[in-house]
Amino acid sequence: MSLFLLNDIVVFLFIEIILFVLMFISEFSVLRVIKHWDFNASTTFQYSLEKRNYLINTIIYFTVSVKLVIFVFFVKSLDELSPLVPGAMCATGVVGANSYGNILLLFKIFILFLLGIWIIINKLDLDSKVFPYINEKYYLFSFIFVLICIEMVLEILYFLNIPLSVPVFCCSTVFKLDNLPFELNTLGLILIYYALFIVITLSSYYKNNLISLFANMLFLFTSYYSVTYFFGTYIYEVPNHQCPYCMLQKEYHYIGYFVWFSLFLGVFFGISPYVIESIISKKYHLLHKYCIFFTTFFVLLCTYFVLSYYLRNGVLL
C-alpha cells in the first residue's frame, strides 16, 4: 500500500488521527457551549460550562498549534516521497500523482489560514474577562472542524492512491512558461508583483483593511507565478527550471520554506484584519505591521536572488 511508503507518512497520519480524535471530542463540548452559554448566569450549569470551556479551549489551542506545525512536516514528507514515485523528481510529481494531491494541498493551506484566524480570535477572547467572542470563536471552530473532516478523507484517499507503477509528470513538464495566466509575459508579471507590493505596504501602513484584503489576495496569486516562473529560475540558476517545489530541497538550502512561508504569513496578516473585523466586528490593526514585515522579507528575498545572479554574472537569465 502506498500509505506505508515512508515512515514519515505513517507518523504524519498517526498525528493527524490523534488531533482529529481530540477535535472530535472537543466539538461535542463546543456545541454545548454554543447552545447554552450565558456568562451572566451564576448557575451550577454555567459554572460547569466555564470549567469545560477552559479544558476544551486548551485542547483546541493545542491541536490547532500542532496542525500548523505539522504542515511543514507534511510538505517535507511529500518531498521525501519523490524518490519512491516513478517519474517524480520533486514534490511536483508526488502532489500531482493522483487527482487528490493538489486539492489536498490547497485545502490544507485554506484550513491553515482559518486556524490562524481562530488563534487570533481566541487570543482576543481570552484577553477579556467576559469571553466576548466565545460564540464566534466556536462557530468558526465548528466550520473548521467540518473542513478538517473532509481534509482527513482527502488525506487518506491521496496517500492510498499514489501510483507506484505508472510514471508521473515531473516539474519540467507541469510548469511551462506558456502557463502564465491572462497571456501575461514575465516582465508584465514582475511589474504587477512589485506594484502590488507597494499597494500592500501603503494599505497596511494606512490600515485600510479592504484594500489590504484585495491586494494580498492578488499578491498571493501573482507571487505564485512570479516565484515559479521568474524568481525560481534565479534560485536554481537554470533558465528553464520552473518549479515551486524543488527549492524546498536540500540542494537549494531549503530556501523554499523561507520563500513560501514568508509569502503565506505576509498574505495571512494582510487578509486577516478584514476577516477578523467581519467576524467579531472589532478592528485589529496590530496585524498590519506583521504583514509589512513578512511581505517585505519575501520581496527582498526573491529580489536578492535576481540581483545576486546579475552582480555575479553581469546578465539576467
Binding site: 456568562f39 451564576s42 451550577t44 459554572y47 466555564e50 477552559y54 474577562k129
Partner: protein, 225 residues
C-alpha cells in the same frame, strides 16, 4: 461604609449529582465592608477554609456570586484570577507555606518578583513589610531556622508586602503557642489601622469577643448560622 465583599447564594458542592455528593457550603450570603475585620468561626469541616478559598479565588463555586468591589471574582478566567490574587489578596496559612530554602527576606520578596518594579522600590516595600510584622531582625535568616511564631510573622510580612486590600487568614494561630497567638492579635490591630479588610477563619477561642473584630460569622455544616 462601602461594601467590599458581597457574597450571594453561594454554594460549593463536591461530587455534584453523584451518590457521594457533598455540600461544603450552602446558600451563603455575607456582606463585608471595607476595612472590616471579620472572624469566621466553626469546627473543623464546617466550610470555613472552603469559603476563604472561594473569596481568594483559589477555587470556583458551584453556584452563586462573590463580588469584590463589584467584580464577580467567581466568573474570572484563570489568568485574571491570578492577577486578582497577586494584586488584591494576601494569604496567611495555618502551615505558613513558606519556602524553606530561602531567607526571610527572599520569602517576603516572592510576591513582588513577577511585578515590574525597581530594585530600590522592591527593597523598600520588603523592609516595610518586615517591620510591620516585627520580623526585620531575622531578615537574613533561613526560614528553616525560625520558630513557629517567627515563621508566622514572616508569612504575615509576605501577605502584606504587595499592599493587598484583602487579607485572608486560615487558622493563623493553629500552630502557635499562646504568646505568639496574642502577638497575632496585636498584628490584627495593625491591619485595622492600615484599613485592610481581614477575614480570619478559625476555631481558636482566643478570637472570641475581640474588640478589634467588626463581625463574627458562625458556620456549621456549610451553613451560616
Amino acid at each position: 461604609m462601602t461594601s467590599k465583599i458581597l457574597i450571594r447564594n453561594l454554594y460549593k458542592i463536591y461530587n455534584e449529582e453523584k451518590e457521594n455528593q457533598f455540600f461544603a457550603l450552602k446558600d451563603i450570603n455575607i456582606e463585608i465592608n471595607n476595612g472590616e475585620i471579620v472572624i469566621i468561626k466553626g469546627v473543623s469541616g464546617s466550610g470555613k477554609s472552603t469559603l476563604l478559598a472561594l473569596i481568594g479565588a483559589l477555587s470556583k463555586p458551584s453556584r452563586g456570586d462573590i463580588l469584590v468591589e463589584n467584580q464577580n471574582i467567581a466568573k474570572l478566567p484563570d489568568i485574571f484570577s491570578s492577577q486578582y490574587r497577586n494584586e488584591e489578596v494576601g494569604f496567611i496559612f495555618q502551615s505558613f507555606n513558606l519556602i524553606d530554602g530561602l531567607s526571610v527576606y527572599d520569602n517576603v520578596k516572592a510576591p513582588l518578583v513577577l511585578k515590574n518594579i525597581k530594585q530600590s522600590e522592591l527593597s523598600e516595600k520588603v523592609e516595610e513589610a518586615l517591620k510591620l510584622a516585627n520580623i526585620s531582625h531575622k531578615s537574613e535568616q533561613m526560614v528553616s531556622n525560625l520558630s513557629g511564631g517567627e515563621k508566622q510573622r514572616c508569612a504575615i510580612a509576605r501577605a502584606l508586602v504587595h499592599a493587598p486590600s484583602v487579607i485572608l487568614a486560615d487558622e493563623p494561630t493553629a500552630n502557635l503557642d499562646r504568646d505568639n497567638s496574642l502577638l497575632f492579635l496585636e498584628i490584627l490591630k495593625k491591619f485595622k489601622e492600615l484599613n485592610k479588610t481581614v477575614i480570619v477563619a478559625t476555631h481558636d477561642v482566643i478570637f472570641d469577643n475581640l474588640t478589634v473584630a467588626d463581625k463574627y460569622i458562625n458556620i456549621q455544616d456549610g451553613v451560616v448560622l
